[in-house]
């Protein structure tokens, strides 16, 4: 009796746990058009759809979804129905790599948009390169992804010809932010914190270097672990360091709590961060503490772009979850680049998909040259976007307000 109930219980608990964790994965391949005349081309998406960073990750997924819906509705590529296959990488490099392998293995997938995090991208690039599958990230900003590990020394080497991005790099973003902090805000004493990830640490380093170059002083440095929640010791150090600016390299998950706890001590030091924290979720969580905080983000504000008006309306009316403001426009443009490349490849092959479609698509994406909803889309010889516009935002009355748009010559 006891043994049987033990068995039933263990089975029930294990099965329960397994079922629940299985719910975490998503599949947007619900519909099946039943084959027929039209060919199906799948655009893969890899982003954190649950857990850490999922608000911006979902914004990325649905940005692609809208691009695909538009292409299908307008019959952009005759004879082809596009579909989205979105995989959740949970912001974990290992999971991203598994997803990359799964996408490569699905021969309907001819292009991938994502991932969100630079650290995840590092683990995926090789998988896509080996399979000749084109990957366009709307949000990776770490320069090493396109220009190689030694980009700081000026020795730029492109390691993966299948990797592209529609977001500009942190070399540009960090320099732009530091210039804004020192020239416009007149900040002199900096405390810098990062989350030790490829994106956060890289951005913080570039900001720091430029801050010092512009005459500022570093009064303190620290690192956090992603997932940390109690920052009381850290904010005490920041408060007592005499810093007049706290720069955070990382995502909103930690920075929104850091700013809340920092302002809670009575310190009035603004937190400045990169595109990783430029999301409405940051303000929602930090509340009043976010007031006056700053962030830079790639591109120009989506809602000021006439070309993106339609996109925003579609996003809002479909009531998609996630924040479209940060990368939604770039995700749309990345998906559009793949869709246009599919059309170019088919046009060159009598309206049919060639057998080596994946390889031909890489070359076609490299030649992209069109007006996207977030700006002009074309790629340089490293796979970086030629659109190097950036915007600085500040929280005013509970909203991110654009305060300066410009470019920065990272040299």
């Amino acid at each position: 009796m006891r043994h049987r109930s033990l068995l039933i219980l263990t089975t029930a608990v294990t099965a329960g746990a397994l079922t629940l964790s299985a719910c975490g994965s998503r599949d947007n391949n619900g519909k099946n058009d039943g084959g027929g005349e039209k060919k199906t081309v799948v655009i893969g998406v890899d982003a954190p759809l649950t857990g850490q960073n999922s608000a911006t990750g979902l914004g990325l997924q649905y940005g692609v979804q809208i691009a695909v819906d538009d292409a299908n509705k307008n019959n952009t590529v005759p004879g082809v129905t596009f579909k989205v296959k979105a995989l959740d990488d949970k912001a974990l490099p290992a999971t991203g790599q598994q997803n990359a392998t799964a996408l490569v293995g699905d021969d309907k997938v001819l292009g991938v948009v994502g991932p969100l995090n630079s650290g995840v991208a590092q683990s995926m690039q090789q998988v896509f390169a080996t399979a000749n599958l084109v990957e366009i990230s709307p949000s990776n900003t770490n320069p090493a992804l396109t220009q190689g590990k030694e980009w700081t020394t000026g020795k730029k080497v492109r390691a993966y010809k299948t990797y592209f991005r529609t977001a500009t790099t942190d070399a540009v973003q960090g320099g732009f932010a530091a210039e804004y902090a020192t020239r416009t805000l007149k900040k002199k004493k900096l405390f810098v914190v990062d989350d030790k990830q490829a994106y956060g640490a890289g951005l913080a380093t570039i900001f720091k270097q430029n801050f010092v170059k512009n005459g500022g002083k570093i009064v303190g440095e620290d690192h956090v672990n992603t997932g940390d929640k109690d920052f009381s010791t850290l904010v005490t150090k920041v408060k007592n360091s005499g810093a007049d600016l706290l720069y955070y390299g990382g995502q909103y998950d930690e920075s929104q709590i850091i700013t809340k706890q920092l302002k809670g001590t009575g310190a009035n030091i603004p937190l400045f961060g990169g595109d990783g924290m430029f999301t409405p979720t940051y303000i929602k969580t930090a509340g009043k503490a976010a007031e006056g905080d700053l962030a830079t983000s790639v591109g120009v504000p989506v809602d000021t772009l006439p070309a993106a008006k339609d996109f925003i309306e579609k996003y809002k009316s479909a009531k998609y979850p996630g924040d479209y403001a940060t990368y939604g426009g770039y995700s749309y443009d990345a998906a559009t680049a793949i869709i246009k490349a599919v059309k170019a490849v088919m046009d060159a092959n009598n309206g049919k998909l060639p057998d080596d479609a994946r390889a031909k698509l890489v070359a076609a994406v490299q030649k992209s040259d069109f007006e996207g909803i977030a700006g002009h889309v074309s790629f340089d010889r490293y796979g970086d976007t030629t659109n190097k516009k950036l915007t600085a935002y500040q929280v005013k009355n509970g909203k991110w307000v654009a305060i300066k748009t410009g470019t920065y010559n990272a040299g």
Binding site: L9, D222, G227, K229, T233, T265
Partner: protein, 309 residues
Amino acid sequence: MHTLPQQLANGLFLGSLYGLIAIGYTMVYGIVQLINFAHGEIFMTGGFGALTVYLALPDGISMGIALPLMLLGGALVAILIAVGAERFAYRPLRGAPRLAPLITAIGLSLALQQAVFNWYPDAKNDRVFPQIPGGPYHLGSITIQTGDIFLIIAAPLSMAALAFFVRLSRTGRAMQATAQDPDTAKLMGIDTNRIIMIAFAIGGLFAAVAGVAWGLKIGTVKYDMGFQAGLKAFTAAVLGGIGNIYGAMIGGVVLGLAEALATAYIADIPGMQQFGGQAWSTVWAFVLLILVLLLRPQGLLGERVSDRA
């Protein structure tokens, strides 16, 4: 830099929080020798229970009225889950080899986490927890936030209440007896099942107080907050001598202080720059645990027990 008093205070606040959660580990272990690894998730559901109550209350309600109700709601949820876990997940396994309930505990912890993740609205992001208005207050060079005030009042109060309960009440004495020798206690007419259930309920109650304190201190609650906090609290319980309720509180405070001081000062030691700071706080907490266990295996307040694992 006059940061030492402030950092000591930070460590004390964080440590009291660990201590509150650690009580649940220590009481359950003291009575049934089970490490309830789902306890961190019980703490988490306590926080979410309190948040749910707050969201159900009308807007703009003062925290003076809302906070007791939130505590009540959080406690209700946490106690129900703790007692339910005991009744349906652990009691059928009592008498089974020790590994079986341990694995059930881990399974239960995952199941609870995933349940909140999937079914609580928007639990995937940090859910904003209401704050007590006012503050920060200044005490010399120490800044105290309102969330910390709640903690510093709630922790000793609940500890004192528990000490009175265990020492002076009939049920408390029955608990001590059960902890010492469950079989003999049963022969003496003590309903050990009831006593064990009460131990789980008290653990749940303290976890709920900790859950609310966490929400007030950190500012948000999240589905995965129980994992790391639970692990730290477990460490605190072992540090203080698992099975000893005062040890849990002291272990928590020692751990909190160690974390705060390591975070603040290790990096100032020449040659140790790369081993200091926020990112290393957990590492130093565990270094401390290892040191204590090497020098005093029974924990700070634990008694040397020869025949029990």
